[in-house]
Symmetry: C2
Subunit: 470 residues, 2 copies
C-alpha cells in the first residue's frame, strides 16, 4: 500500500530540489471544472526540468508515495483530482512550458509538456503552420494533459486524435527513469511503441515531460456551412457524399440537434441562430484547402447542390465572410455553455460505429422516455462517430429533481452504447469517473493485460493512484 506524502517526506523531498519547487497546493489544484471532486490539502511540486521531475518520481517510488500528474486541470473525468486515499504529491508541469525547438521544414515542434495548447497553436501559426488539435479548453489545457488523455476535439476527422499528432515523447517512468523517446520520425519500427502506451494512459504509467508535435501547413482557404438535414441518417449520407467529393479536406463535421439552439435561445439569446425555422437536425461542415487549389467555397457549393438534389439537405447557409463563419462556429461552441446553464442530469461522451449512429439515437431516446420526462441534447463530432448525448430535465424542472434517476440514466445510455459496439469514453478518458465502466464494459483479456502492464511498470502503484484502474 501507499504511504501519504506527510510533512517529513515533503520536507525531505523539498531539501533535494531547488528552493520553491514544493509548496502547499492552492485551491485551484484541488478543484475541477464539473465540481464533482474536491482534492485533499497537500503539497504541489513545480519542477523546472525533466531531471527534477525524475528526482521527484524516484523519491516517491522509493517511499511509495503517490504521484498525481497535473496539466491544465481541465479534465472532465476526475483524472487530476484525488479526493481520498493517502495524500499524493501533485506534480504540475506549469513551469515546463517552453518551446524546445521548431522545424518548419519538418512540420515538427518540440515542446515541453506544460505548454498550453493554445500556445502550441500560436507557435505553429508564427511560421504559417497549424497545430490542429482544437478543443473548448485549449486556452487552459496543457500538452502533457491532452496527450495523456488522447484528447480529441473538432479536427479529428481530418487530423486525428492527440496521439496521431505526436511523433515522439519524453517521459518519466514510475521508477524515475527517463524515457528519451523524443523522435521526430514518421517511421520508426524499433520495438514496442511506448509512446502510444503512455498516450491515453492518463498519467498512470508515467509523466510525459515533452513531445514532438506534428504541424501542418495552414490552409489557404476555408468554407464553412450550416446545413439542415432531416435526420441523423441523412447527416451520415451527407458525410459520405462530402467525403466522396473532398476526402482529406473536411476539417469538421459537427452534428447539432435542435435542443442546442433551443437552449441557446433560452439561456444565451445573444447568440443568433442562422437558420429559421429551426430544423430538428443540423450539420456544421468545414472544408479547408491548401494554396494550390481554387477557393473552398465552390467545392462546398458543389457538395450542397448535390446534397439538396439527393434530398439530404433541406436548407443551409454557406458563410460568405469570416464574420459569418465565426457566427456559425459560435453556435456550435456555445452549446456546451448553454448546456451547463440548463444543468444536465447526465452527460455522455460516447462513440459508435458510424453506421450505428442513426439507430442509436432513437433507441436511446425511447429507452429514456420510458424512464422519465427528459430533454435530450445530442450533438458532437459526427464525422468521428463521437456524440455528446446529454440528458436534461424537462422544461420547468431542475436537475435536482432527477438526482435519484441519474445512475439509471447513465447505465441505460452506456448499456445501449456498449451493446451497439460503441465506447463509453470517446475523448475524455476514464479518469476516476469511469473506472467502473471499464470494469463493466471492458474486454476481460484487455483488463487483465492492462493490470499486468501496470504492475510491471509501476509495481508500487504510485502513478495517479485510482485513475483508470482501481
Amino acid at each position: 500500500m501507499l504511504n501519504p506524502a506527510d510533512s517529513a517526506f515533503v520536507a525531505r523531498l523539498a531539501d533535494s530540489l531547488p528552493a520553491g519547487t514544493l509548496r502547499e497546493a492552492e485551491p485551484r489544484y484541488l478543484e475541477e471544472p464539473r465540481g464533482r471532486w474536491q482534492g485533499q490539502a497537500g503539497a504541489v511540486a513545480l519542477p523546472r526540468s525533466t531531471a527534477e521531475v525524475a528526482e521527484i518520481v524516484r523519491q516517491c517510488h522509493a517511499a511509495r508515495v503517490g504521484v498525481l500528474p497535473y496539466g491544465g486541470g481541465t479534465g472532465l473525468v476526475g483524472g487530476q483530482i484525488m479526493s481520498d486515499g493517502p495524500a499524493p504529491i501533485i506534480v504540475s508541469l506549469e513551469r515546463m512550458a517552453g518551446l524546445r525547438a521548431i522545424y518548419p521544414a519538418e512540420n515538427v515542434a518540440v515542446v515541453e509538456a506544460g505548454m498550453i495548447l493554445a500556445t502550441a497553436q500560436d507557435e505553429a501559426a508564427k511560421l504559417g503552420r497549424i497545430f490542429p488539435l482544437s478543443l473548448a479548453s485549449e486556452g487552459t489545457a496543457r500538452i502533457g494533459g491532452v496527450l495523456s488523455t488522447n484528447a480529441g476535439g473538432v479536427n479529428v476527422l481530418r487530423y486525428g486524435n492527440a496521439r496521431d499528432l505526436c511523433l515522439g515523447i519524453e517521459a518519466v517512468l514510475p521508477d524515475g527513469s527517463i524515457f528519451n523517446g523524443l523522435k521526430r520520425l514518421r517511421k520508426d519500427n524499433t520495438g514496442y511503441d511506448l509512446r502510444h502506451l503512455l498516450i491515453g494512459a492518463e498519467g498512470t504509467l508515467g509523466i510525459i515531460t515533452a513531445a514532438a508535435l506534428r504541424l501542418y501547413p495552414a490552409p489557404a482557404s476555408t468554407a464553412t456551412a450550416l446545413l439542415a438535414v432531416p435526420d441523423p441518417a441523412a447527416a451520415l449520407a451527407l458525410l459520405e457524399l462530402a467525403e466522396g467529393r473532398a476526402a482529406g479536406m473536411i476539417s469538421a463535421f459537427e452534428l447539432i440537434n435542435r435542443a442546442g439552439p433551443e437552449f441557446l435561445a433560452e439561456h444565451m439569446p445573444e447568440v443568433p441562430l442562422p437558420l429559421s425555422p429551426l430544423p430538428d437536425w443540423m450539420v456544421l461542415v468545414e472544408l479547408a484547402l491548401p494554396a494550390g487549389f481554387e477557393a473552398a467555397e465552390p467545392v462546398m457549393a458543389g457538395i450542397l447542390e448535390a446534397a439538396m438534389e439527393a434530398g439530404l439537405v433541406a436548407d443551409g447557409v454557406i458563410a460568405a465572410s469570416q464574420a459569418q463563419r465565426a457566427g456559425l462556429w459560435r453556435v456550435r461552441e456555445s452549446i456546451p455553455l448553454a448546456n451547463r446553464k440548463v444543468g444536465a442530469v447526465s452527460s455522455h461522451d460516447i462513440s459508435l460505429p458510424l453506421s450505428e449512429v442513426p439507430a442509436f439515437i432513437p433507441r436511446a431516446d425511447a429507452a429514456l422516455a420510458a424512464l422519465g420526462d427528459f430533454r435530450i441534447n445530442c450533438f458532437g463530432h459526427l464525422g468521428d462517430g463521437n456524440l455528446h448525448y446529454n440528458v436534461f430535465p424537462a422544461a420547468g424542472r431542475t436537475k435536482a429533481d432527477y438526482l435519484p434517476l441519474r445512475e439509471a440514466v447513465k447505465a441505460l445510455v452506456h448499456d445501449t452504447v456498449h451493446d451497439m459496439g460503441g465506447s463509453v469514453s470517446a475523448e475524455h478518458g476514464l479518469g476516476r469517473l469511469k473506472v467502473g465502466d471499464l470494469e463493466r464494459y471492458g474486454d476481460p483479456a484487455k483488463l487483465a493485460a492492462m493490470r499486468a502492464i501496470k504492475a510491471a511498470l509501476d509495481p508500487h502503484g504510485i502513478m495517479n493512484p485510482g485513475a483508470v484502474l482501481r
Copy 2:
C-alpha cells in the same frame, strides 16, 4: 526455458484440433526472401478460427513450447524464421483469410488476419474505396503480418503506416486468452491502447487474428511526375513547396538516386528511363484528388512551375496517360529488383528527421568512401524521411569481395543514423536481424520497459522467441 515441440506434444495438440490442422512444415515455411535464415524442420498449425488459434497458444503456454506466428512470409528481418533454439509450433493464419464484414458508409472493412494485402485492396476497390497500404510484397504479405510489423510503403505520407490504418484488432494473447478489440471506432479512450502495443510487436506479445481496417474513398484523379532535382536538399524544399500547395493530397514523394536507373540500365534494360540526360537525383511525386476537385494535372503543373522558378527542379515529366504513369512507377518499383541483381554489400532501412536528410547522405557517403570503394543507391520514401540507403560493390566486383567489410559498413551507417536522431529500422521491423541494434541504440528506459511488458504478458516467453528481444 522453453521445451521443443516434440512429437509427443505435436500429437497431443493435433488430437485436440480438427484433423489436418497440424502437419509437417513444408520448406516454404522455413525460408525467407533474403535467404539468410533457414528454419528448423517441425510442425505447422493451420487453424481455421480464432478459437483454434487460442487453443494452440493455450497448450503451448501450458507446455512452454514456442509459438512462431506466420503471415505471408515476406518479412526482411527474419521475424518469421527460427533457425535455432527449441523447435516451435509455426502458426500460419493462411486458412483465416476471410472478409468478415465491410461497411462502406463507415469506410471500414473487418478482415481475418490471414487475408493477403492485395485481397484487402481488392475488396475495398469493389466498393469504390481504397485500402491505401501499398508495398512491394502486397501480393503475398498478409494483414496480420503487415500489422505485426507496422508496415509502411509508398502511401505513408498521406495515409500513415499500418497502425494508422487499423481501428481495432482481435488477438490471441500469450496465455491463450482472446482480446476482443475489434472496434470500428474513430475515438475510444477507455484504457491502455493494446492495439497499438500489439501492432509493431512482431508477434512477440500475441497473434493478431482479425482487424478492422480503415478505408478511404478512391481518388477521382491522379497526377504523377518524375522531377529532376539538383540534390536532396532541393528535394526537401520541393516537398515543402508541394505541401504548401497540396497538403493532404500528396500520396507519394519518392527519392531516386541516379544509381537506381544505372542499375536498371545494366541489369533490366527493358525498363525505359524517362529523363535524359540522367539526373543525379529525381523525385517521383503523385497527387490524388477526390471528385469534388478539377483534375490533378493542373495542380501538379502549378507545383512544377513554381519549383522551376525557385530553382528546385531542372527537368521533369508529368505523366500524360495511365501508360506513362505506369512507366514512371515501373522505374521506381524496379529499383529493388535491380538492386538484388547487383547484390548489396549491406542494405539499410533507415529514417531520419526530414531536415537531417541532406546532411546525412554526404556524411555517410564520405565515411564509406574512407572504408572502401562502393557504389551507393540511396532511394526511398523521402516524404517520410525513410531512405533505403543500400551499399553495393564497385563496378566489376561482387559482394563476395566485400564480405569482410559488411559488418563495418552496417555499423558505420547505423551509427551515423543514430547520431543524427534517426532510426535503424524505419519500416521493416527488428525481427531477429536487428535485435542487437535495439540493444545498441535503443533508449535504456524503453528497453527496460519493453522487457517488463514482455515478461508481464508472456512470462514463459513462448511468443516468437528470440525476435525483438533476446
